[in-house]
Amino acid sequence: MSLFKERQYVRIRVDREADDSLWMKCKACGELVFKRRVRENNNICPNCGEYFFLTAGERIESLVDPGSFEDLTAPIVTDDPLGFVDSQPYSDRLREAQEKTSLLDAVVIGRAAIDGVPVILGAMDFRFIGGSMGSVMGEQLCRAMETAIAEHRAFVLVSSSGGARIQEGMFSLLQMAKTVTVRRHLAEAGLPFLSVMAYPTSGGVQASIASLGDILIAEKGALIGFAGRRVIQQTISEELPQHFQTESFALERGQIDRVARREDLRDELALALGYFVEAR
């Protein structure tokens, strides 16, 4: 059963090409692995334990109580306010991303229960232009937090984003200010915000909403940081440590509260949420 069976507002051609083959080659160990095994294993290589990307839908399914997810993602698309064209028009990039992912933008939000605790959950999808935050993601995240406030639920956000959506210019940069503003309302309402940082949580997303959780939980294999490795190396010709911006780097430096393996993330969230439920 599809989590999103109620959504039917947009015509999207879904690229099933990747699903047609039975086997896939792990980019980490090079082994040919049975695709279905990988999927049943939270997109983790059964041979070497490498984490492959989870789509927003797969992420949600891996975290919520079965059948509890109700999609609240608003049926909106970016207006391409700058009419942006680089080597390719932004509108084309968008259409490609929408076709590839069958999503309207890079985040899915909805009501769900995690181990029986009612939450509002958001999950970013890195396949959609690097999970970048533009007008639509900013709006969805604000609506998610506002619904959490209205329904007195906890807010759980799983970030997987390279940062701001450059093609929306200042509209995207200002989503940082927008989401931070509504995050303040969530705090004033006394509702907990659990921020999960997956691969990657960087740029403008890390420098705003993702870092402002009451509890910060990194998924093992995450990348957490503001500036990219390449940008830093261009600026300073300094050698960066091997585990730079990994979850262990962040944990050692006091940047996050906890690290969880993908297969344990649901239990980790359930455990954390439990403390807030008891307090109520």
Binding site: V108, E139, F171, A177, V180, T181, A207, S211, F226, T235
Partner: protein
């Protein structure tokens, strides 16, 4: 801008003639007037229709007045508060008390260096976590005592470095933003030169956001966008236009509240005049904000940021077409 040299030479020549005129009692006023007309003409030609890229260059012009110049001219008695109370003091993001139009305000000021030595100290105006933590401290101080907050923004962006990442620069930007969102005092932000990405926005969430006429405010530098999106560093000019980072564009897009005019040719052509314009606009805007009750003011600010974004309803599914399968989710 090689034409700038011609301007400089003309200006120097006029000044020279003026001194001769007063010293020797020879009447050179006709000659001076002729040269001034020529100068005006040249300025008009050069600056009346600046391209986006020319504005980027003006915003980064090495002679452009920096925050400390305005702190000395548009403000009085800047009393600097230093240090983040944790690891150090950032010299690219300054904080302190000052007087504006006779009353106490808290100022946050991003400061570039004029010399190589000064730029080494100031990291070319790129703040580090120390700076953003200090900013947060200053914002909270302003809020505690009801002092209005004024941010002078001028930075290429937060400093990208190993140490900055080790000290979680992203989170310090987020915390500074949150402190600005929390503030109950009137908050004003002015981009005086470069408003570079998150490092600029960190002190730019305000009741009123202004830009100097030739300032820029952008999610990424034109050079950065050129290399990421065009995969070609030479496309910075195109990127500068496409990103719509100039004051006039951002005002038209409804993302800023006003533009402070600069003298023809840029703020550095007449720093005193620019500073006077900045001061009077700040005083005027502050007076406007102060008559609004604090809670209403913050609600208005919340509503302003809540409304930022451009989107439209997704196209409805064609009822003739088969239901879209959900590729993101397995059965």
């Amino acid at each position: 801008m090689s034409d700038e040299r011609t301007l400089d030479l003309l200006e120097a020549k006029i000044e020279e003639l003026r001194q001769l005129n007063s010293a020797d009692g020879i009447d050179l006023s006709k000659e001076i007037a002729r040269l001034e007309e020529k100068l005006d003409h040249l300025r008009q030609k050069l600056y009346a229709n600046l391209s986006d890229w020319e504005r980027v260059k003006l915003a980064r012009h090495p002679k452009r007045p920096y925050a400390l110049d305005y702190l000395q001219s548009a403000f009085e008695g800047f009393y600097e508060l230093r240090g983040d109370r944790v690891v150090g003091d950032d010299r690219a993001l300054l904080a302190g008390l000052a007087r504006l139009g006779g009353r106490t305000v808290v100022v946050l000021a991003q400061q570039k260096g004029r010399t190589t030595e000064e730029n080494k100290e100031r990291y070319f105006g790129m703040p580090r976590p120390q700076g953003f933590r200090k900013a947060r401290r200053a914002i909270q101080l302003a809020d505690r005592f009801g002092f209005p907050l004024v941010s002078l923004i001028d930075t290429p962006g937060a400093y990208p470095g190993l140490e900055a990442e080790e000290h979680n620069v992203g989170a310090t930007i987020a915390e500074s933003l949150l402190a600005m969102a929390e503030a109950r005092v009137p908050t004003l932000a002015v981009v005086i030169g470069e408003g570079g990405s998150g490092g600029a926005l960190a002190i730019g969430l305000a009741d009123c956001v202004l830009m100097l006429e030739n300032a820029i405010f952008s999610v990424i530098t034109p050079e950065g966008a050129a290399s990421i999106l065009w995969k070609d560093k030479d496309k910075a000019k195109e990127a500068a236009s496409a990103l719509q980072m100039t004051a006039d564009r951002l005002l038209a897009l409804g993302l800023i509240d006003g533009i402070i005019p600069e003298p023809l040719g840029g703020a550095h052509r007449d720093a005193a005049k620019t500073s006077a314009a900045l001061q009077s606009e700040l005083v005027r805007r502050l007076a406007e904000l102060e008559v609004i009750p604090a809670e209403d003011r913050r609600r208005r600010r919340d509503a302003r940021y809540r409304a930022i974004g451009r989107f439209r309803p997704a196209p409805m599914r064609d009822p003739e077409a088969p239901a879209a399968p959900e590729g993101a989710v397995r059965d």
